[in-house]
């Protein structure tokens, strides 16, 4: 055992002692930071167990997002649970876990009164091994006639269809279905690959059917377990002895990868995603230092050693296609850096791909704050990528809410680390996501235009805004749910809804769900706002009212309010009422009701209730906004 291992052992026992001391003193923020540090230093089962036991003591007092996940399974998953909860903690998620009994997943799903549904999960994982659901397609495959095996495959698909149907009947939780794993050593050897009806072919068929089933239900997703095992290698993933001894098929080294794969779903489901990634330049986006090595010296291109950096740039480009904004924060001379960005032939990314750029010698955490302001998002929606551990620590200390991506020494690992980071996962992709960078480029032009007008009204007229108001439809459902989950600032009640919940609400009488889409002379913003109004006799209550930050302050909010007021009056309602529920983030929406002549009726700990008399007043639709209504 080397001396530095000893040093690290004593350091980690100090960290544990520090955690307990901070908890005893009630310094929970400090305790929580030490726990995260401990987890980074010593990621593993034993540490996870320590971490979970301490989080248990303080979780109610920390600003964590709660998420209840149920794991329905046909194998031992218990040793993964502490790892899963520890990982969740690092993404500020307080995970409560329910583990179903061995192989009782069918009863759990089809029985409306089962303990699964009593647990009221937000997400359910269905993790079933191929041999438990389809014995004819595993060890004894060679004993069966081909048509028996084909029938077995059909039976498996039908069972899943029924399970998913029942599940949707009783629960609106997200459902994550593991695909079935193919055998690494098929019964017929190489012959198995020669037809579609071999073991692999039939399991592939089941998996593609499962994907189809997931696609037609809202909030049902496939976790490609077969691909996950392949990524790590079947030989390494499995541990036959543990399977026989404890019904645990996964080796000790791969329990964490299993937990992390689940997190790729649970992080976006909990709304803990990053909206933008801030990157450094030298030795991150390219090898070397532009200010010293110059255009010919930096490493970026298709050949080693520049190839590793090109792979990272490809990964970043893929993120931007997913709707994640890119920004630069680098200590450099602006001219040197811009020349490399826009002129170097090896670069895949150019300056136009970045929604915000801070190249200067200032403090990185200050620059990151400014980037967040410019992009109109909270710093907790930012991730930061920098090769320099010193810069990372400085940012970590100043802005603990920023997701930090720790890069290893070897640049060839950079791209995979970025691709594996769960804060960038999205479970649905809207047209808005795919065009986001272009929209922000338009925004920069709009901001320039604003400076040249005499009055706000002149500017609003110049914008030629068009608001398209429409009731919820299949086309907008995903986007509406996404907006309720992601919008923090201009959001009056901050109620989060899943797609399935919105779909359910739309079916109920008295619920009116509208979305607003905005276009102007610079481009299409897409669907940027949601209002949900609930009729209760003579009064209509605004359940949800929100707008994406990029259209606030241009009277679009008034247009949306005017529309729901008018439609409530048309339905015979006499009053429009609505709560403002303050959060840390929604100050921009605080004065919205009073500004529109609503009167205060009630104020309590949670917020304030406002009312508008529809029989005597109306909310004027802004005259410079052209209204388009779709039914």
């Amino acid at each position: 055992m080397s001396a530095d291992k000893n040093a690290s052992a004593s350091h980690s026992s100090d960290l544990r002692a520090a955690v307990d001391r901070f908890i005893a003193d009630g310094a929970l923020d400090a305790a929580s930071r030490r726990l995260s540090e401990l987890w980074r230093r010593e990621t593993g089962s034993a540490t996870a167990s320590f971490l979970v036991s301490r989080v248990e003591k303080i979780r109610d007092q920390l600003p964590l997002t709660k998420c209840k996940v149920a794991i329905l399974r046909s194998f031992t998953v218990e040793p993964i649970m502490a790892l899963l909860r520890a990982e969740a903690f690092t993404y500020r998620i307080d995970l409560e876990v329910y583990v179903g009994d061995f192989n009782t997943y069918v009863q759990d799903i089809v029985d409306a009164s089962s303990s699964l549904y009593r647990f009221a999960p937000n997400a359910v994982v269905l993790a079933v091994r191929t041999e438990d659901v389809a014995p004819e397609l595993t060890h004894r495959f060679a004993d069966f006639a081909p048509e028996v095996a084909r029938h077995a495959a059909d039976r498996v698909v039908n069972s899943y269809v029924q399970w998913v149907d029942s599940f949707r009947q009783y629960s609106q939780a997200a459902l994550i279905v593991h695909s079935l794993e193919r055998p690494s050593r098929p019964s017929f050897g190489v012959l198995d690959s020669q037809s579609d009806t071999g073991q692999s072919g039939l399991i592939r068929h089941i998996n593609s059917e499962l994907r189809r089933v997931a696609g037609i239900h809202r909030g049902v997703y496939m976790l490609d377990y077969d691909a996950l095992v392949a990524r790590y290698g079947s030989e390494h993933w499995h541990d036959e002895r543990k399977w026989l001894m404890a019904r645990l098929p996964i080796s000790a080294d791969h329990l964490l990868p299993m937990a992390r794969e689940w997190m790729r779903f649970l992080v976006p489901l909990s709304g803990r995603t990053a909206k933008a990634l801030v990157v450094d330049l030298d030795n991150t986006l390219w090898g070397g230092i532009i200010g010293e090595d110059g255009m010919t010296g930096i490493k970026i291109g298709p050949e080693h050693p520049g190839a590793a950096f090109q792979s990272l740039q490809r990964a970043l480009l893929d993120l931007s296609r997913r709707g994640i904004l890119l920004a630069i924060c680098s200590k450099n001379n602006l001219d040197d850096a811009m020349e490399a960005l826009d002129k170097h032939p090896g670069m895949l990314l150019r300056s136009k791909d970045f929604a915000s750029v801070r190249i200067n010698w200032g403090d990185k955490s200050q620059n990151i704050r400014e980037i967040a302001q410019e992009l109109n998002i909270g710093t907790d929606s930012l991730a930061f990528l920098d090769d320099n551990p010193f810069e990372r620590e400085q940012v970590r200390a100043a802005l603990p809410e920023v997701t930090l991506i720790d890069l290893p020494q070897n640049p060839t690992e950079y791209a995979a680390i970025v691709r594996d980071c769960p804060v960038f996962e999205r479970l649905v992709l809207s047209a808005e996501d795919q065009q986001r960078t272009a929209m922000y480029a338009g925004q920069r032009q709009r901001a320039d235009a604003e400076h040249t007008f005499q009055s706000k009204e002149d500017f609003f007229r110049f914008l030629e805004q068009e608001a398209e108001l429409s009731p919820v439809s299949d086309l907008t459902l995903a986007r509406i749910a996404q907006l309720t989950q992601k919008t923090n600032q201009f959001n009056l009640t901050t109620r989060r809804y899943s797609e399935a919940q919105i779909a359910e609400m739309a079916k109920q009488p008295g619920w009116n769900i509208f979305s607003i889409r905005v276009r102007d002379r610079f481009g299409d913003h897409g669907v940027v706002g949601v209002a949900i109004a609930h009729d209760q006799g003579e009064q209509c209550e605004v359940d949800t009212f929100l707008l994406s930050c990029r259209v606030i302050g241009r009277t679009v909010e008034t247009a949306l309010l005017a529309h729901i007021a008018k439609s409530a009056a048309e339905r015979g309602c006499k009053r429009l009422v609505g709560w403002f529920l303050p959060t840390k983030k929604n100050a921009p929406a605080r004065d919205f009701y009073p500004q529109h002549q609503f009167e205060l009726v009630e104020q309590n700990r949670d917020g304030s209730l406002w009312s508008f008399d529809l029989t005597r007043q109306e909310v004027a639709f802004p005259k410079w906004v052209k209204l388009v209504t779709l039914n």
Binding site: S13, S45, A46, S53, P79, R241, L248, A252, D253, L256
Partner: protein
């Protein structure tokens, strides 16, 4: 006994069984540590395999009757497997 290996195992046992490290001795066993049940025994095995990069056979797992026995077993395995 190699003190570094013993200390690491003691810390793991402390994490897994929820007992302060200084209260764990070489003689600590499922009889003396309340939380050392079959579930935590499996977790200890997995934590050892993951930490030391080795695999334990069912026979070896049987031999882990105390923290001291476990440390001796791991030391022997670390000496015999070139790393």
């Amino acid at each position: 006994m190699n003190p570094a290996v013993f200390d690491q195992i003691r810390m793991m046992a402390s994490d897994l069984f929820g007992v302060p490290a200084e209260r764990i001795r070489a003689s600590s066993s499922p009889e003396t540590l309340e939380n050392w049940d079959s579930v935590q025994h499996l977790n200890l095995v997995l934590a050892l395999e993951e930490k030391f990069g080795l695999q334990l056979s069912p026979e070896e797992i049987e031999q882990m009757k105390s923290v001291g026995d476990t440390a001796k077993l791991i030391e022997t395995k670390l000496r015999s497997t070139p790393r």
